[in-house]
């Protein structure tokens, strides 16, 4: 049994927002793979839950007229990994989605929950950062759109107001068009594990040079981060092993890795350097096989 006092299961978003504005104590539950485990561990007691599962259409994945890809917050990772829209346009997100937990977890866990629980190890977070994704947050008083880079406030903390619900994750065409990329999840096991480090790279190349490079890391700081020093270094440079290795070294600068039982600070910094290089190289190869010397 879970320590649940009450559970609301509204059938519309309007009803959900109404309930949330009336009772700010309501804890939003999506797939349940984080919230219910917190309860098992005693970290959440006498919970009043607001389940979004009965709201139809909240898991839709579509391309809007302006080319923006919209992913419903309730889309489960299995659905994201199977989606042709995601596979064709956001292959790095599909790669990240498949790396989450195991198959049963991916059938339950949602991308919205993964972002809103604020975990630095969230497999989707680094990739959404690299694609310059935006989050659509809805409340009774209106909606706002926040870049995912401004959403994380600290370990386990996000800038979601008590009366707000994350409804959609938006990736504008400028964020994904003509890009290639790669996600590397580094963990002790291939499945059912939490990342020791997550590296997501999205880049564009032109005439043998990097015209755009976006590098994001999970578990390298208190929140998922972008590596601005490394990106600035790589943009405009010739595509070579030397450039990419140096970019890996620059990526360490943005990090604030720490010692934990999963890995030491020194080991994490080594991983950042090596895995950023590998992800970048793989992204270039996937982007059309520029001859790398």
């Amino acid at each position: 049994m879970f320590d649940i006092v009450n559970i609301e299961k509204p059938g519309t978003l309007e009803a959900a927002l109404e309930m949330l504005s009336r009772n700010p104590e309501l804890k939003i539950i999506a797939g349940g793979t984080d919230v219910l485990i917190k309860m098992r561990n005693g970290a959440l007691e006498e919970a009043e839950l607001l389940s979004l599962r009965n709201i139809p259409g909240m898991d839709e994945i579509r391309i809007l007229d302006n080319g923006t890809i919209s992913i419903g917050a309730m889309a489960a990772f299995a659905k994201i990994a199977r989606s042709s829209i995601i596979n064709e346009n956001l292959p790095v997100l599909s790669e990240a989605a498949v790396s989450v937990g195991g198959p049963q977890i991916r059938n339950m866990a949602t991308i919205g929950g993964n972002i809103c629980n604020g975990a630095v190890s969230a497999d989707s977070a680094a990739t959404l950062l690299a694609y310059n994704a935006e989050l659509k947050l809805l409340s009774r008083s209106g909606s706002r759109t926040v870049p995912v880079s401004e959403f994380y406030a600290g370990p386990g903390k996000v800038n979601l107001l008590p009366a707000e619900i994350l409804t959609d994750i938006l990736i504008p065409e400028a964020g994904y068009g003509r890009t290639s990329g790669c996600y590397i999840k580094y963990s002790g096991r291939k499945a059912m594990d939490i990342a020791m480090l997550g590296v997501s790279v999205v880049c564009k190349t032109e005439g043998g040079k990097f015209s755009d490079v976006r590098i994001a890391l999970g578990v390298a700081a208190p929140v998922p981060i972008r590596c601005s020093e490394a990106e600035a270094y790589a943009i405009g440079k010739e595509i070579s092993d030397k450039t990419m290795k140096e970019t890996g070294r620059y990526a360490v600068k943005a990090s604030r890795a720490r010692d934990s039982w999963r890995a030491s600070k020194a080991y994490r910094e080594h991983l950042i350097e090596v895995l950023v290089f590998r992800a970048l190289k793989e992204a270039v190869i996937r982007g059309g096989g520029v001859d790398i010397g």
Binding site: F2, R40, N41, A78, G101, G102, P103, A191, M192
Partner: protein, 157 residues
């Protein structure tokens, strides 16, 4: 202050309408109320896969799935896999490959493999390994289990 809600669900082809405690997991309702004890309770936090059931055809960890969410859903447990006393193809493959030792992980694995066979898709070795990776077996290695799933999917071993 106990709170109950009425749910309707189809379990192994049979319709049920029952009052469930809002605090209950689907696992607890299946085991304690419907006495479907083939659904095993292992880790209780969605890591071991012993409690796996199919919900509308997809494998889900029933230990972290609220019973109230099952309203209107179709559930398959290991008890619903064989038909008229005949083992299913997946069950037979597990027997033929000797893929059962203590048996605790077996119901979940058979259900995941059943979902794979019913998808009608073809799976590479790597994909099979990925698809069964949400089940932990603590008796032995995974080779016989892997071979059984392959056999059930008609892949030459």
């Amino acid at each position: 202050m106990d709170k109950y809600e009425k749910i309707s669900m189809v379990v192994n082809g049979k319709a049920y309408s029952l009052e469930v405690d809002i605090r209950e997991s689907l696992l607890e309702v299946l085991r304690n109320r419907l006495h479907l004890t083939g659904v095993k309770q292992g880790c209780s936090v969605g890591e071991c896969g012993a409690c796996t059931v199919l919900i509308d055809g997809f494998p889900v960890n029933s230990c972290i799935y609220l019973a109230v969410w099952a309203d209107g859903r179709k559930i398959t447990t290991i008890e619903g896999v064989s038909k008229e006393g005949e083992l299913s193809k997946v069950q037979q493959a597990f027997v033929d490959e000797g893929a059962v030792q203590c048996g605790f992980c077996t119901p979940g694995l058979v259900l995941t493999a059943t979902a794979l066979t019913e998808s009608g898709r073809k799976y590479s070795d790597e994909e099979i390994k990925r698809e069964i990776s949400g089940h932990l077996c603590r008796c032995t290695g995974y080779n016989k289990i892997f071979n059984a799933v392959k056999r059930a999917l008609d892949v030459d071993c």
